[in-house]
Every structure is written in structure tokens, then in C-alpha cells.
Subunit: 151 residues, 2 copies
């Protein structure tokens, strides 16, 4: 999908697969962990082994950020994808060094915005898989999409 999409282009049941998969490296896990989530299992392999996760794993917020990238690349909203909020997000399995992540997004429903007459709200579910097709994250997020100009 290379053309910019407007509110009217989205419909319930529509699906979007990520265009690529994203390989998560140990270096990226540690660098993100040191900046934003400095806990033993996100910044050190040895400490990770002795933790709840039995090894180094990505901060859930790194996974969420990667998922945003995959979603932005595969769903081109006119003017940009403006987040209206997260309804739910769950991390179902640890993301490990060298995992390759891909996303499947499904549009759950669409409605016009009450507060912004030029925009609609698109509600979507995203499922995130690793290279073994295990689900590592699930989320329901809403974003705004502009209405086509009729003038």
C-alpha cells in the first residue's frame, strides 16, 4: 500500500501485514534498556540468566517501538499516523537477541471523531510474531485518519 490512505479507505476486517521483518540485536536490546528500562534482564546477559526471564530479553517498550515502525511502514495514513491511544497491550513471550519480528494488523472498526470533524478514528488490533510464528505481543490501538476533503 504505497498511496496515502484517508479515513474512508479503512474498513472493518481490513488487514495489513508488515512489509519486512525486524531483526532485534543484543546490542539494540542493551542500548534501549540502558536508556529507558535499566533492569538486569534488559541490559546484561549474565544477570538476565539469573532472572525471571532466564536470559537477556528486550524491554516491552522496545518491542512496542519496533511494532510502531512496522505499522508505520505498512499503513500509510495521509499526513501521518496520529496515535489516539492504546486500549490494550500484552507481552506474551520474551523477545530475544536475533528474533525477527513481523506484524499483522486488522481494522476492528472505524468511526468519525466527535471532537475533530476533519478526522475519523480507526481502531486496530496488531499481533506480533517472531520467526517461529510465536505471538510475542498483542495490542489494540486507535489512530486518527483525515477525512477526504470534499470541497
Amino acid at each position: 500500500m504505497s498511496q496515502a490512505m484517508y479515513f474512508e479507505d479503512f474498513y472493518q476486517g481490513q488487514t495489513f501485514d508488515s512489509e519486512t521483518s525486524y531483526r532485534v540485536t543484543a546490542a539494540e536490546i542493551i542500548s534501549f534498556g540502558e536508556k529507558y528500562d535499566p533492569q538486569p534482564f534488559h541490559i546484561d546477559e549474565t544477570a538476565g540468566r539469573n532472572s525471571f526471564f532466564s536470559g537477556l530479553c528486550a524491554s516491552g517498550w522496545l518491542t512496542a517501538a519496533i511494532v510502531m515502525r512496522l505499522r508505520v511502514e505498512s499503513i500509510k495514513v495521509a499526513g501521518g499516523m496520529i496515535g489516539a491511544g492504546v486500549e490494550e497491550m500484552r507481552w506474551t513471550k520474551p523477545v530475544r537477541p536475533d528474533d525477527k519480528l513481523r506484524t499483522q494488523s486488522t481494522i476492528l472498526d472505524v468511526r468519525k471523531s466527535a471532537s475533530r470533524p476533519d478526522y475519523g478514528v480507526v481502531r486496530s488490533r496488531t499481533t506480533v510474531f517472531n520467526q517461529r510464528n510465536e505471538i510475542v505481543m498483542k495490542s489494540i490501538v486507535n489512530w486518527l485518519a483525515p477525512l477526504k476533503k470534499t470541497t
Copy 2:
């Protein structure tokens, strides 16, 4: 709060303020945007001015990551803060270059984990303020905390 906290240490109504505030720079906004949320209003000042946001602003996922850091620093869970999921997250105002963010977290409720007998689930609301005391983000997240060992 410098001592590691167990499930039994958390209670409804308990509050935690971030220990510091976090200054978000234009460089960090752009660097995060280029990596994870490459949209005009997160990577370029001029493009940002002509967008929905009327200026450069932080990806909501950068704000969420910074909030994780402030939460990890101010709530020291024994063994680390293990995210069990997000129930709700809303970005209520753009985060701009040089904004200083701080968090207030309140424990909403606590319950033992059905699936993991050694852990409890702590449900918390976090409100994120900028330097003008405007709310820029609100979230409800759950995390696991280990039970004190009784043996």
C-alpha cells in the same frame, strides 16, 4: 524508596512520584523518530510545523519509554519490574523539545497471580506531567511483584 519491594509491600492508594524529571531534547526526539516512528512530525522541525502537531513532537512511544525509566527508578520491585500488560494509554498533549517530564503513579489494586503462585499482580495508574504541570500522558499498567518467601 531504595529497598526492593515485594508484592506484600504494595497497597491500594499508595503513590510514587518520579525521583527526577526527564528533559527531552530535540536530538532525542529525532533520533528515536528516525529509528522507530519515522513520520514528518517526529523527525523534522519544518515538516512538523506543517503537520497536525504544528511543530516537532516526540513519538508517543518515546514518551512511554521515558515513563518506564521514571517508573523503574522510583518503584524498585525485587528482581525487577516485570510488565504484565497495559490496560490503557493515552497521549493527551504533544511532548516538545526541552519539555521536562515527571510521573505520579498510584496503585489501583493488588491481587495474587492465578497462573504464578510466587507472584502477585500490581495494577497502577501513571500520570505524566510536563514542566507546566500539563498532563501529557496517562496510562494504566500491570506488573508482577514476587511474594515474600515464607520458608
